[in-house]
Subunit: 416 residues, 2 copies
Amino acid sequence: MPRVELLAIGTELLLGQLVDTNTAFVAGHLSQAGIDVYATHAVGDNRERIARAVTDALDRADGVISTGGLGPTVDDLTKEAVCDALGVEAELYAPALATLERAFAALGRTMRENNRKQAMLPAGSVVLENANGTAPGFLVFRDDGKFVACMPGVPAEMKPMLTGELIPRLRERLGVSDAIYTRVVHTVNVAESEIDHRIEDLFRTSENPKVAVLAHGGRCDVKIMAKAPSRERAEAMIAPLQAEVESKLAGFVFGLDAETLETAIHRLLQSDGLTCAVAESCTGGRIAAALTSVPGSSQSFLGGIVAYDNSVKIAQLGVRPETLGAHGAVSEQVACEMARGACEAIGANVAVATTGIAGPDGGSEEKPVGLVWVAVAWAGGEARARSIRWRGDRELIQSRAASAALGILWNALIKR
Amino acid sequence: MPRVELLAIGTELLLGQLVDTNTAFVAGHLSQAGIDVYATHAVGDNRERIARAVTDALDRADGVISTGGLGPTVDDLTKEAVCDALGVEAELYAPALATLERAFAALGRTMRENNRKQAMLPAGSVVLENANGTAPGFLVFRDDGKFVACMPGVPAEMKPMLTGELIPRLRERLGVSDAIYTRVVHTVNVAESEIDHRIEDLFRTSENPKVAVLAHGGRCDVKIMAKAPSRERAEAMIAPLQAEVESKLAGFVFGLDAETLETAIHRLLQSDGLTCAVAESCTGGRIAAALTSVPGSSQSFLGGIVAYDNSVKIAQLGVRPETLGAHGAVSEQVACEMARGACEAIGANVAVATTGIAGPDGGSEEKPVGLVWVAVAWAGGEARARSIRWRGDRELIQSRAASAALGILWNALIKR
């Protein structure tokens, strides 16, 4: 497996003004593509230090891949430094210049002399097309077969260049045939330990494909990764394991790969011709925000009531003052009345409601900070509620409660 | 100014499974504390490579600061590698062992033999206390005055160790007296170019303190940074510039330092004894979510209506069907009726409303994707609306519209 080192370029990284998300993206895609990342580095906009970092990395690894420093300003020194490190000159690349001229024409802007600098590349370079900006990337091999590849630092420009231009070229040139293909099985309403227990034997027996469980934000993904020479071959290797995972976790799997719980909910609602609504107290609009993040969600999400104050619970959702008086706002009864009220007020087929204590104040022994009731009601039917308790700060409690409410709504839809 | 290099340790960083946020945090705090970060690196959980990275960094810089690899498992190799790099042995540190025993007792857990490993530190180390976990950090100086400092990788453990333990010790030992103190002046409803224009002369004249404008998410911060031996001295240097910035940007400054637009809005509402409500179409709950993120927001935020479907605009907010028919849902008139309706339905003193086209579908020549109307209404009074247009994807349009609505609400409160 070829080994590379990554180099992020930009003084702002050393001042802590920017979290470097490029490196994780590049490292993840290279690993998946069968190219091993040996180390990563960040240096400032300094020609000598960039050149030294490139030289040092080439001593240890088969290649260096950099991000940043390809712009038109005097601070952008990556190309000069790479020329220094490789002992070559920069040359004007006609195809790069033509691309630049097209990009400027499309923007209706005049190209300045310093933009022509962006078409100067180290001698021997292959141009990496930039579909989303003016700075081309490049890939240049040394006589000993080691290489330097440079991409812009703007994520929107770097990402397609990496996946569409650089990785295919590197795999071909370095003779890498296998890649890692991943199927993600998304689950909800089940604990990581329960998943571990149910698919334990798959962990032990599987090396390729390999199975891993990843918990995040209160939900778990099961990842099935196959190393194979093609997607078709990988799919064939993944399919039986995937079927086994899905069968052992039946009732908890809401989707695969790019699907989210929100898109799964809208898919279920739309396939049944149903509409939904929300009634939110402690989650304060977060469930509605999640449901409306999906394009086309207006087909199945009608709206909701953020009933933060009790007066709003009474006036907009029809919660009875006696219920509030007898059980308090954070109670099973109020959650159920909120959900039923949202169905009626909004005219939806199904509604989910939350009421809880997000903190940091307002908790008691009986009703501690982090206690949240979630209820689901169907139009004209009964409501059912359950309580969950989280430990953490206000932000965590609010976001986990919204996420749990989506899980409970999804469950109500598949159990229908 | 002393120069250090940072080293993040963990194979997951090289697989792209984790975005390294520690490095930016450490780099930012060191820069502010007068310690220059020369380069940053990440390596995997490999004793030899960690040792080599430490040795190489000490060749270039005055010290190395690492995060990660201090846990009790066999993968945690930082200490062994640092011993190799420095040519010293690990020793059992009684104070570190005592701290570990206290931490385990507090957790009610039994200490295992591999946890004792966490009290073994390179000979000559100073222990860095870990208030939030079991792994102590350490700082060790070589005979030539260069140093290695190691901290855990868990952010909640690393951050207080860096600011409370490591930085004060380094500043004292390295004789760093100056630090950079920053005042952030937050603005809203004003473009970066307008700020540049108004405070242009401050950029030119100021070196220390220095002034910078930082745009993010549709808002701008003015940062005033003073290099000084103490906070008091820095405050004295910052005060006149801050007064000048605040006066030149009067009407746009909503707060300083840790204040957010949401906290500023609640402060204004509470100081005037007012309550607010929201009516959200295209922002789908995001304004309510922002307003309820503030602890104690229930004092001034009563609730809101997410009126995604027109039927909800009519039934819950009293928007007239004729208005919808004549002008369409995305219009000045509907925005105003929504804001007025929210005031009435929720019983609030002031309400903000949004209606727009978040996309990707639903746009037209006259009403393109990204067009959003925002209205503010006072109870019993008239509503006023303005339109804004963003280019970008659904997520950007929804979040920018919510942010703009908060800015417009804030403006209505200060102009009251």
